[in-house]
């Protein structure tokens, strides 16, 4: 379990980083919490690692208008603990599920998104929130919406010579509520199935958007406003949590059937994952709606 030899460079600016990435066979390393296991198992043997930890402009976490901008070297734990992330409740719900505290100490938000593991939490959060990815290269910068960013397992829109310099997370608006849940064999393991939910109640009728993960090779977004409205028709606009979960569960199985397209593995069959998603959708859409309507009385617990 030792990485193969590689050349190493630690530039001090984004311009220098993308200059290095223009070389063949270069790979960015920030926290390394996804990359180092890949190197240790020699699943990957890049010729050059470009360490971006000396670039101060990538170490920024800032609120700009309705966005929270998370630089490429911002650790997951820093985002979790920083007061700024209170404006993005979904990311706060999701981060405790990312690996373990020891992983989040070093692992970066952008790194997890760029690695694009199909079972990872943060790509699903980015999709659910309709975040924007900022990519830098010697050709300049470009922005890619999260829904177009994930192209397959461990594959993204990032070109080999590009750096995911920043992820732009929209801050929560009044009337929005969020839910997040996952099932894993042990806490901190990759999720067998998980769901991130955003509900909006500001308009005439509530909207619900979710993103499933662990059930396909990419995060799977879906609009489930119809599911929520049908459930609310059955329960009335101020249901109890239990009543709403039950009402949502009526049709959550149909949603799950459409969303789960994994072939399954030794840990969980597709059928089992559909059941997990069905339960998670009912529970977390209810939770998000109740938070959005501020009628949440029960203790919020992931």
């Amino acid at each position: 379990m030792k990485a193969a030899p590689f050349a190493y460079v630690r530039p001090g600016s984004v311009a220098d980083v993308v200059g290095e990435l223009a070389h063949d066979d270069a790979k960015v390393i920030a926290g390394g919490q996804s990359l180092v296991p890949v190197l240790a198992m020699r699943l990957g043997r890049p010729g050059l690692l470009v360490d971006i930890n000396s670039v101060s402009e990538l170490d920024r976490l800032s609120r700009e208008g309705d966005s929270l901008r998370v630089g490429a070297t911002v650790r997951q734990r820093r985002l979790q603990d920083d007061a700024l992330s209170a404006a993005v409740p979904l990311v706060r719900l999701a981060l405790p599920w990312v690996g373990h505290r020891e992983i989040r100490s070093r692992g970066t938000v952008c790194g997890s998104i760029a690695h694009a593991d199909p079972s990872a939490e943060l790509p699903a959060v980015a999709c659910c929130l309709e975040a924007t990815m900022v990519l830098a290269s010697t050709r300049g910068t470009r922005e890619v919406p999260a829904v177009d960013f994930f192209t397959g397992a461990l594959s993204t829109a990032v070109e080999p010579d590009e750096l995911l310099a920043q992820v732009v997370l929209p801050v929560a608006k009044p009337g929005e509520g969020f839910g997040f849940g996952e099932f894993a064999r042990r806490h901190g393991d990759f999720a067998l199935a998980g769901v991130a939910v955003r509900v909006r109640t500001h308009g005439a009728s509530p909207e619900a958007r979710l993103t499933c993960f662990g059930v396909s090779d990419v995060p799977v977004p879906a609009d489930v406003s119809a599911l929520l409205r049908a459930a609310l028709d059955a329960t009335g606009p101020s249901p109890s949590r239990a009543a709403l979960v039950c009402a949502l569960a009526e049709d959550a199985g149909d949603v799950a059937r459409d969303l789960v397209d994994t072939g399954g593995d030794s840990h969980a069959s597709p059928a089992y994952r559909r059941r997990l998603i069905s339960g998670l959708v009912a529970r977390e859409v209810a939770s998000a709606y109740l938070k959005a309507t501020r009628s949440e009385l029960e203790r919020d617990k992931p």
């Binding site: 379990m1 505290r101 992983i103």
Partner: protein, 412 residues
């Protein structure tokens, strides 16, 4: 946290310079970029308390603190940690002054084989430092970053919960961080403490460094032995004045080179049962008179341990015409030899000083010291150490002062 300094491109077959603080000691290393922090700690700094399990970030055995936060040392390349502050389990507590977490793990039998213990200690230290209000029911999830295959976690939870309850207002910090000599196990010796690296450079230039820098803080062993010699003070003075003769009195030691300016190079072999240590090192005589000799010494065990010592010996006349020889030494051990029980290492060292005193007595009387001919006998030394311990238990009742024997067995 300060950002690491930039580094120009280093090719795959070259090494990268990195400076970090480990348990309070600044260390400078030059490593291939692919060396993980766990390997650097273990192989290059001799800190084998950090265990290595899966080496791909699953098991948590290698958990250390990086700038105060727990992280997996196998998932970090050491060269990335330029300027970082690392705390390992060695920095958490001392054998005679354990950290409350270590005490609690012992009390609750929170370990069986001990392999996961460093990981659990560092992970729970991080948890209780950052979340002192953590509830017992959350401990299983909060500690899920480390795996244990022996005790089934229940006792570990008990131990951490007890410490959490006792320290809601703040967990005591690591109790063993200070300047230590860190010596690696890698024969190539590309590493060492900042001081040691400088020493190596100096040695290459002039044969010896300007001075031997001893670590601050508590020595691993403090030795205080008084032996009664039958030789007269004048006879002992003759030995004190002759460093070559003196060296031959030290069991297993051999003076290999006189470097001038009161500097000497030598080697020492010690055999204890299956344990074989072979030290190469330097000594600087700081004071040398008829009745007093004072020196600093440092040595590196070929197997990956290090020792530094401050030694003072004083000879005093006795009423019966003999000489009382008092030896005081502060010994700092690192690497695998530091893994010996502190008391066993102390006992062995005291025994060596007693043998030394006997040899000085013989040399003073004009006989061949007979100590350098062979390393201290494996069995005899260990036996006498163990036998001594049994006797000491009886004697300790009467002897109030630790480390001071009423009278050397080989005295007059």
């Amino acid at each position: 946290m300060n950002l690491p300094e930039t580094r120009a491109r280093t090719e795959a077959d070259q090494t990268v310079a990195v400076t970090m603080t480990v348990n309070g000691s600044e260390v400078a290393m030059s490593l291939p970029a692919r060396v993980t922090l766990s390997d650097a700690l273990r192989d290059h700094l001799g800190l084998t308390g950090t265990h290595v399990g899966c080496e791909h970030g699953i098991c948590g055995m290698c958990t250390v603190l990086v700038d105060g936060d727990a992280a997996r040392a196998c998932l970090l390349f050491a060269v990335q940690l330029d300027g970082a502050e690392i705390t390992t389990v060695e920095g958490l507590g001392r054998q005679d002054d354990l950290h409350p977490l270590q005490e609690a793990f012992g009390k609750h039998h929170g370990l069986q084989c001990g392999f996961c213990t460093p990981g659990f200690l560092m992970s729970s230290y991080d948890l209780l430092t950052h979340e002192p209000e953590v509830r017992r029911e959350d401990l299983p999830a909060e500690l899920s970053g480390v795996l244990c295959r022996c005790t089934g976690y229940r006792n570990i939870i008990d131990a951490v919960d007890e410490v959490a309850e006792a320290h809601r207002d703040g967990l005591p910090g690591p109790g063993n961080c200070g300047k230590h000599a860190l010596v690696g196990r890698t024969p190539a010796g590309v590493s060492g403490s900042g001081a040691a690296a400088e020493v190596a450079a100096d040695e290459a230039a002039s044969g010896h460094p300007d001075e031997i820098t001893l670590p601050s803080g508590e020595p691993t062993i403090g030795i205080e032995v008084t032996s009664q010699l039958s030789s007269s003070p004048e006879q002992v003075a003759r030995v004190f004045r002759d460093v070559r003769l003196l060296a031959r009195c030290l069991p297993g030691a051999e003076l290999t080179e006189e470097l001038g300016d009161d500097w000497y190079a030598g080697r020492a072999r010690i055999a204890l049962g299956p344990v074989r240590l072979s030290f190469h090192g330097l000594a600087q005589v700081l004071e040398q008179s008829d009745e007093r000799i004072r020196m600093n010494a440092q040595g590196k065990d070929t197997g990956g341990g290090g020792a530094q010592a401050r030694i003072e010996m004083v000879a005093a006349a006795r009423e019966d015409g003999g000489t009382s020889l008092q030896a005081d030494a502060d010994v700092f051990l690192t690497g695998r030899i530091a893994g010996f029980g502190r008391s066993l290492a102390g006992d062995v060292s005291r025994r060596m000083f007693e043998d030394f005193a006997r040899a000085v007595d013989r040399a003073a009387a004009g006989e061949e010291p007979d100590a350098s001919a062979r390393p201290p006998g494996a069995l005899s030394l260990l036996w006498s150490t163990l036998a001594d311990r049994t006797r000491q238990r009886v004697r300790r009742v009467r002897e109030a002062r630790r480390g001071r024997r009423p009278r050397g067995r080989h005295g007059a």
